[in-house]
Assembly symmetry: C2
Homo-oligomer: 373 residues x 2
Amino acid sequence: MEKWMGGDMHPSYRILMGPGPSNVHYRVYQAMSNPVIGYLDPQILACMDEISEMLRGIFQTKNQVTLAISATGSSGMEASFVNFVEPGDVVVIGVNGFFAERMTQVASRCGAQVIRVDQDWGKMIEPEKMVKALKEHPEAKICGVVHGETSTGVRQPLEEIGANCKKGSTLLVVDAVTTLGGYDVKVDEWGVDVCYGSSQKCLSVPPGLSPITVSPKAMDVLRSRKTKVQSFYLDLLLLEKYWGEERVYHHTAPVSMFYALREGLRIVFEEGLGARFRRHEVLGDRLKMELEGFGFKPFAQDGYRLPMLTSVTIPDWADDAKIRSRLLNEYNIEVGGGLGRLKGKIWRVGLMGETCKLRYIHCLTGALKEILS
Amino acid sequence: MEKWMGGDMHPSYRILMGPGPSNVHYRVYQAMSNPVIGYLDPQILACMDEISEMLRGIFQTKNQVTLAISATGSSGMEASFVNFVEPGDVVVIGVNGFFAERMTQVASRCGAQVIRVDQDWGKMIEPEKMVKALKEHPEAKICGVVHGETSTGVRQPLEEIGANCKKGSTLLVVDAVTTLGGYDVKVDEWGVDVCYGSSQKCLSVPPGLSPITVSPKAMDVLRSRKTKVQSFYLDLLLLEKYWGEERVYHHTAPVSMFYALREGLRIVFEEGLGARFRRHEVLGDRLKMELEGFGFKPFAQDGYRLPMLTSVTIPDWADDAKIRSRLLNEYNIEVGGGLGRLKGKIWRVGLMGETCKLRYIHCLTGALKEILS
């Protein structure tokens, strides 16, 4: 293949109402068109400092080690376990969905002995059940929970679990991939030690980065490891040296994605966190009401439904694949299907960041009316 | 911080003549502005197929498993060891620079028993020395070498080493981060089993992706592992299922970077591989001649100098930091300093992909004339 004959690519302009990515603000695309510069250029280092500062605002933390990992949200999960688990360590994980299940796999691959606290998919894990497991396993090095379970649309309350972890040596690791930037994530107040998110959901930046914040307590655990972190790429001690004052080269930073994240974060703060959370809440409620009007039943437990990801069971008379495919191909609307054991059983309708607008709810209800009539 | 007060970011338009990233074609920036779509959207799956096909062309391979890892070039190195090494495995590594040294660290962190074949930084490793080590360690699972050592500017010949690995069970892992897209990388002909590159050097795409290709022999080794790959994010068995026909969700793909890579690869094939390699060779020679005219002495061994990365020792009378800082701040030209033990001793001047043009050599020599006069 000396010459490549493929033509220009013109992807359709989708309304992204799936589990993420969400739609991206035009200013973020513009920022990505800024010229690439070197990984130790004073201008990129200043950009990284600003990203850290804004991420601290969104995570609501004072943690010095707050940065963006140069890979997608799944790498944030991996970094949260590979840095802290040494072979044989006990890890307690609350399992009520696909991503919580994945946490158990990631932790196991690091050599952890995983204690599961199981709950039905679609329900939150009663905090007292988690606290009980932690009391039974005071030696646990990590307690892992998913704040917003993308596979079920469930929000997990964290206050009690955090208060319990604060008292002992167990580190609380929280997956905020779906909630970060769209819901209150109070890292310091709740006592979360490691919290990671993603660029492409409520922050409305293209996928490719995983913001993460690490408490001093967790950094102490990391520094007192007996073995080296297996992953060189995700080693937080090395990343800290690059993002911190030392500026030691670790890897070639994904500069264009940093530009994108910086601009996406600015847009978040222009709106203000409170206003942003209210927008997600109000429009999430509106979407749930509209979908119920079509005969879709809420799937997630009442009182613990995520605003930015609405899960609904598909009525018997509706053809999952056919309707979603018509939505995509005829109306350019992406709606998420069920993941794992929920495939074919539920829809996951996202209203994240830029996509969280009344106009898109109107687009979806308009299209559904036509398709179902 | 409810409101963020930072202003717009306007990075300078640098001429990137360092060790990478290189300058990016305007069509690649345009491609990144294409609207983001979902990670299982038929349009992104088609884009991924095209990326695989073009990467096979550049790696000069028929390997089915040829894809881009969703992280920077360093993750390609990590993927090449974490997938194949199980604790206690013997790995032979040729060590003649910073990135080869890093290979030994990455392999050790995976639990490998590393056999080093050391050589002075700045020299290639005599193939017969590598072959000798491989004959002494027929049980070696992996033989690792760096094709283009970014820290020294040395090109490593691979024919003999590859011919030897082909005969036995040892897998040949090659780092082509610097050479891929700018130099002949003959994966199948040379008998390379795992070869990884980066988006941001001779491919002239922003940093953030690591192209990788894996031979059937290496996939067999992977499938017969006794333990699971520790990294979930870099597990090639899972990535194969997402990039291959099964299309099983693994992680949210960095869609905008895929657009960028697809366009960057198209530009490579429009020029043609042969023409591209010749351009790098001719202009690399020209740059070396110009720098010698200024009193800089070539650092890398004669006959094994990389075209796309020229290393030169700094004359005693020249102030490394001061000149490079003036080049950056007054002339917007980035030139790389020495890495690791070569800090302050050499310069690394890149001519990669889009930056590999006569006009930029003129810019650099013009600026140097003014600064040194």
